[in-house]
């Protein structure tokens, strides 16, 4: 059973995020049809390419009212409204890259590959999409950064006894997560979970951050990505529980409280066991939804505010502009926070299942 103390926190968070997502998602969905709030006329803004880029690029796009480029399947509606939010937060087989001529971006179509037939699963289309590309990019950046930091740290330790500069910062971050977040939560002999949790952290962090740079996109704003990450966490949690507890792992699935009298015990077994089993799946589900909803909701808010700038087209635009800046900063924080929370909760779950006693 999950200790009561940790429940209200995660529960409250889950609820808050779920509510936020539920409130914000219809805006994105309806924006395609008739909702005028975040939508602008195609003559004004064809399509901003990213979040952070929007100021410069979108401003140019006003001066460049071509709107002639490909918008099919991206929400160009017949009534002259265009949806700028949905294409941004959803996946697609197009990639926007910086371009030196106005509108300063160029759309390239990603290649389409034949679906690969996986055993047990069937054919899966593994063609690269926008989010796949940004995931690769995030992985590449993480790899480059951490390998460089490790090398620099090693060199620093060998020469002056401590790393210097940015590498020291990365090392301090990794060390903090290791000694203050992962190890205390995972419990005894948690060292073997450190690389896993840290990989999770940096991978998610970079996917989050890539959505905040111009022309970028957030792979973690896609439920498939967060669900897979949560699934990985789920498997790690449960397998580590099975290894740590042996047959005692069944006690985390089936409620059999030896402190209760036998009649009550049997009743509680049938009442609590489904709850326990559902609880197993709730945790990764909450992880996936939390990350996905946070990233998606943040981007929707940001894009709605940016849309407002071009809707007002006057000095009033200053207000949404300032708000967009503030929300961007908040998003920067959220990018770190959500990566941290995912890592923290995964560690907590591993610790719980390894220490669970009934």
């Amino acid at each position: 059973m999950i200790p009561v103390t940790t429940l209200p926190v995660s529960f409250a968070r889950l609820r808050a995020v779920a509510v936020a997502a539920a409130l914000l998602m219809p805006i994105a969905l309806r924006a395609q049809h008739s909702e005028p709030a975040p939508a602008v006329t195609p003559s004004a803004v064809p399509r901003p390419a990213g979040v952070g880029d929007s100021m410069g690029v979108a401003a140019t796009m006003i001066a460049e009212p071509t709107a002639a480029h490909d918008t099919q399947g991206h929400g160009a509606a017949a009534d002259g409204k265009v949806d700028i939010i949905t294409p941004h937060i959803t996946d697609g087989n197009h990639l926007e890259i910086p371009y030196w001529k106005p509108p300063f971006y160029k759309e390239i179509t990603l290649p389409h590959w034949a679906p690969v037939n996986f055993p047990l699963v069937g054919p899966v289309d593994i063609s690269p999409t926008k989010h796949v590309v940004f995931m690769w990019l995030a992985a590449g950046l993480v790899m480059a950064l951490l390998l460089w930091a490790a090398a620099a740290s090693k060199k620093g330790h060998a020469t002056v006894g401590h790393p210097k500069g940015f590498a020291a910062g990365i090392e301090a971050m990794a060390l903090y997560l290791r000694s203050e977040v992962i190890l205390p939560n995972v419990g005894h002999h948690g060292e073997k979970f450190v690389p896993f949790a840290l990989t999770m952290f940096f991978f998610i962090l970079f996917m989050n951050l890539l959505g905040l740079i111009p022309y970028g996109s957030t792979a973690t704003g896609n439920i498939s990505v967060t669900a897979t990450l949560a699934l990985i966490a789920f498997v790690v949690v449960e397998v580590s529980g099975m290894i740590a507890q042996g047959p005692g792992y069944l006690a985390t699935l089936f409620y059999w409280n030896k402190d209760l009298p036998i009649v009550m015990r049997v009743i509680m077994f049938f009442v609590m066991s489904p709850v326990e089993i559902i609880g197993k799946f709730t945790k990764p589900f909450a992880l996936a939804i939390r990350l996905f909803a946070n990233m998606t909701a943040g981007h929707i808010v940001l894009l709605a505010l940016i849309g407002l700038i071009f809707t007002f087209k006057s000095l009033v635009s200053g207000a949404p502009f300032l708000m967009a800046v503030a929300i961007s900063m908040l998003e920067l924080f959220v990018a770190f926070l959500q990566a941290f929370i995912f890592t923290l909760l995964t560690s907590v779950f591993i610790g719980q299942v390894r220490e669970a006693h009934h």
Binding site: R30, A139, V142, L146
Partner: protein, 200 residues
């Protein structure tokens, strides 16, 4: 009960969210986009990229990054374990020492007690023996004295008889009535003997 209610509330909240993706259908072209629709390709790439990243990072980034810290932690742990071991060893030695000391003390006590009882016994024995000897010596002396006395008495008697006879010889030389005289003498001697005996 609170546990149950929290878990139940949680489960109830989660239920519609769990079911929701199941109802998600392929969006029609141009229709609303379903944000909760899982895409196999993306899931595949996420899994693959994560596994590769995990492998590369744990091998080439985290290992060297934490090598110094882990070495330090290990050294610290070893030092603590060593100190604990040493303390336990010292504790063990101390208790052993104490037990040994206690043992020797008891031993010494026992030896002293033994010696004391032995001495006591020996003293008693010796005393007894001395007393016995004393008694024996006394007895012997008494016996000797008795013997000597009776011998002396016999000697004296013989001497007295001899003297008396010698005296009597003289008397006989004077007075040839020996028989009558002898009787007188013996009567006399008997009176001496009885007086002497009574005197003693």
């Amino acid at each position: 009960m609170r546990l149950l209610s929290v878990a139940a509330r949680r489960a109830l909240l989660v239920l519609p969210l769990v079911v929701a993706p199941a109802f998600a259908s392929e969006p029609a072209e141009g229709g609303p986009v379903n944000l909760l629709e899982p895409k196999g390709g993306l899931m595949f790439w996420t899994l693959l990229v994560f596994i590769v990243l995990l492998f590369v990072l744990s091998r080439y980034a985290f290992k060297p990054l934490f090598a110094a810290v882990e070495a330090r932690e290990k050294a610290l742990e070893d030092a603590i374990a060593g100190a604990n071991r040493d303390r336990e060893e010292a504790q063990r030695l101390l208790s052993e020492q104490k037990a040994g000391l206690e043992h020797s003390r008891v031993e010494a006590q026992k030896i002293i007690a033994d010696a004391r009882s032995t001495a006591e016994k020996m003293k008693a024995d010796l005393l007894e023996q001395t007393r016995q000897q004393q008694v024996e010596m006394l007895e012997g002396a008494r016996r000797d004295i008795e013997g000597e006395k009776s011998k002396a008495i016999a000697d004296l008697r013989r001497e007295a008889v001899d003297l008396a006879i010698a005296g009597a010889g003289k008397v006989i030389q004077q007075n040839l009535d020996a028989a009558g005289n002898r009787k007188i003498v013996e009567t006399f001697l008997a009176s001496i003997d009885g007086a002497a005996l009574r005197k003693r």
